[in-house]
């Protein structure tokens, strides 16, 4: 009898487990009710799940200083585990009130109704003024989470990032270059000059995700901005198989052929690429401001930063950028307090924290006391924002795009793939997801 009972017990537990991980809700997007700027004066505790620190911890502290009765308990998870677990934890019965938004991992929470469409708060607080519009755009999505850049707002940025070119001032001036290039053609001349001094111009880590930034930057420079946006956002009929994208891919192959990228690029990890650059093995490194603090620390005044040059002088600046953004769980008991935390992101107090932690402040007009390479990043960032030229990263387009981009750039660099094959493989992934 007892065994049978135990057996029954294990079966029951198994069924419970199955139910637990089976499915939840699914009634379409959720919107908050009774939105208000009036916050509770009683003690409120919110939980916040996140992966990026800096800047999250410092942002929480700054917010708590302003609202002493609100406590935010942070739960940090390393990135690779975060993207795996956040979806399930948001779907659980007691999810965190606020969660750092990761589009790839969390998109399905939108049609599942598990994170709020923040449109009512956007209207209440007037967020369209406080945040750069391109930074909000990438966080919008339609109800099925298939097309982005339009529809409901599912997260709000808490710190911004931008892609550009870090360079080693010593190595560059050794090649007789006196100022950052104004056009792509001038940049190519510079690359040839650097190569002439015996230095491999680019540090490139195409073993991991860093590699595709080279193609991405070229594509931003050569391509049509709107066409690219439409493609990443999944607008029906969009394609990446364009002449300019092909030209960008061809440039990657040509530059590899000319020895502008390390021969062993396909075996270099992101952190190794960073180390190679800071140790002065290469003159240029295309990456985002998330490495600015590390680079500044390692290289001091020897490091500089410029936006990847445009094809023609006078073209508006275009650069990929993203954000550390926050979503609100639709199961939270304190939506108004959570929204206040999101609203705090555009405040001057937050701007200080965001900048000090190596990110770009949401409030781009904030007066920052920056020096060295971080100051250059800030100035350059302001240019893209002024041109409204922040575009999303290409891996945003579909769930397995990042794998296609990584292996595709490896193929371009090692001459195992033609530009046409590369773009066809990207488009295939896009079509699988969006059609």
């Amino acid at each position: 009898m007892r065994t049978r009972f135990l057996r029954l017990g294990s079966v029951a537990a198994a069924v419970l487990l199955a139910a637990g991980c089976a499915e939840t809700g699914g009634s379409g997007p959720a919107a908050p009710k009774d939105v208000s700027k009036e916050l509770s004066s009683e003690k409120v505790t919110l939980t916040l799940a996140y992966t990026d620190d800096p800047p999250v911890k410092a942002l929480i502290e700054a917010f708590q200083d302003k609202h002493p009765n609100i406590t935010i308990k942070g739960q940090q998870t390393p990135f690779s585990d975060y993207v795996k677990s956040i979806k399930l934890s948001m779907a659980s019965d007691e999810p965190p009130d606020i969660a750092e938004y990761n589009p790839g991992a969390m998109r399905s929470l939108v049609p599942g109704g598990l994170i709020y469409d923040l449109a009512p708060y956007e209207e209440l607080y007037g967020w369209q003024d406080g945040f750069p519009s391109s930074s909000l755009e990438v966080l919008r999505s339609d109800a099925k989470a298939k097309e982005y850049g339009t529809g409901g707002l599912y997260a709000v940025p808490g710190a911004l990032s931008v892609l550009g070119v870090f360079y080693n001032k010593q190595l560059v001036s050794a090649a007789g270059i006196t100022q950052p290039p104004a056009t792509l053609a001038e940049f190519e001349q510079n690359l040839a000059a650097v190569k002439g001094t015996g230095t491999t111009p680019f540090s490139l880590g195409s073993l991991q995700v860093g590699g595709f930034q080279l193609w991405n930057a070229l594509n931003n420079s050569l391509g049509d901005e709107q066409q690219y946006r439409d493609w990443v956002y999944g607008k029906s009929g969009a394609t990446i198989e364009t002449d300019s994208a092909k030209q960008a891919a061809q440039k990657v192959a040509d530059w590899a052929g000319a020895g502008y990228v390390p021969e062993s690029a396909n075996a270099i990890a992101d952190t190794d690429a960073l180390a190679n650059f800071t140790q002065g093995k290469n003159a240029y490194f295309i990456t985002g401001n998330w490495y600015a603090a590390t680079i500044a620390e390692a290289m001091g005044d020897n490091a500089g930063f410029f936006l990847f040059p445009t094809a023609k002088q006078g073209n508006p600046a275009v650069a990929s950028g993203a954000s550390v953004a926050f979503s609100i769980s639709s199961k939270t008991k304190h939506p108004n307090e959570a929204a206040a935390f999101l609203d705090f992101m555009r405040s001057p107090e937050a701007a200080k924290v965001q900048f000090e932690s190596g990110f770009m402040p949401v409030d781009t007009s904030a007066d920052l006391q920056a020096t060295g390479v971080t100051a250059e990043v800030t100035t350059e960032f302001a240019k893209v924002v002024a041109d409204n030229g922040i575009v999303p990263f290409p891996d945003f387009a579909s769930p397995n795009m990042i794998d296609r981009l990584t292996s595709g750039v490896q193929g371009l660099v090692s001459k195992q793939m033609t530009p046409d094959q590369f773009l066809a493989s990207l488009q295939e992934s896009w079509t699988e997801h969006h059609d």
Partner: protein, 311 residues
Amino acid sequence: MTDVAVRSGRSVRPERTPARRRPKRRVGRRLHGLVYLAPALAVYVLFAIWPAIHTVYLSFLEWDGILPAVPAGFSNYVTVFTDPTLGPALWHAIVLILFFAVIPCAFGLLMTALLQGGVRGMTAYRMIFFLPQVLPLVAVGITWRWMYSDGGLVNRGLELIGLGSVTRAWLGDYDTALVALGLIGTWAMSGLCMVLFLSGVQKVDVALYEAVALDGGGPVRKFFTVTLPALRGEVTIASVITTIAALASFDFVFVTTNGGPVNQTTVPGLLVYRLAFNEADIGTASALAVVLTLVVIVFVTAIRLITRERS
């Protein structure tokens, strides 16, 4: 010897007869046994058997982990078999069998033959060769990545012996990545095979070797007539363990090449991971996992058939 056998035979009989007469007590005893078994059984069923069954169930669903799951019939399996990335991945895993199973077993046998008589410093040998088994491949994978890199230990060594012309970033090279990856497996598995074989060889009756020597057989003859047949069981176990490690490999591929360059080192385990965690396609990931399990069963069965003792 004979005496013991007879005695034990005697002692078994008296117990059997009363048991047959009193079936109630036997059932009671059985239940008793089950009670003792239950806690372990429950844990095993819950954490080993159930997930396996649940994976099969999930493979018939279309599910992203959040939205309600939709029955998908065999469509996930159709996707798995029509996906152009699976074929190469499976082929890479089969190539890895060479490096994970075949070479380590051969190496293990050779070392066993050489070390068998008892060599000075045997414990040290055993420890050194077994060490890779103790270190987690995930951690070691990163070390290997550096060793294989442009200015890494491997290339330095090649330059030292005058082979500077062949140096390259081995894991980043289109043609050599898979072989370089495989050799990491050889390094990890050889020690396991050797230790298994060395312990197996200790049970061999020394008289057999003496008999071969009397017949005029040398060390080679001794190895093939006595040692190898005696190690049949160990060879089977070693081949099964290492073949499974090759086919189900994931961790060290993930940290060293992540399938690159240009998908030259993708393995089925890596594709399962990408499907489940990057693409949130739990159904297809489960279907691929089921297919991978079947492939493993086929290989293991084949090994057992090949190494079975012919009666």
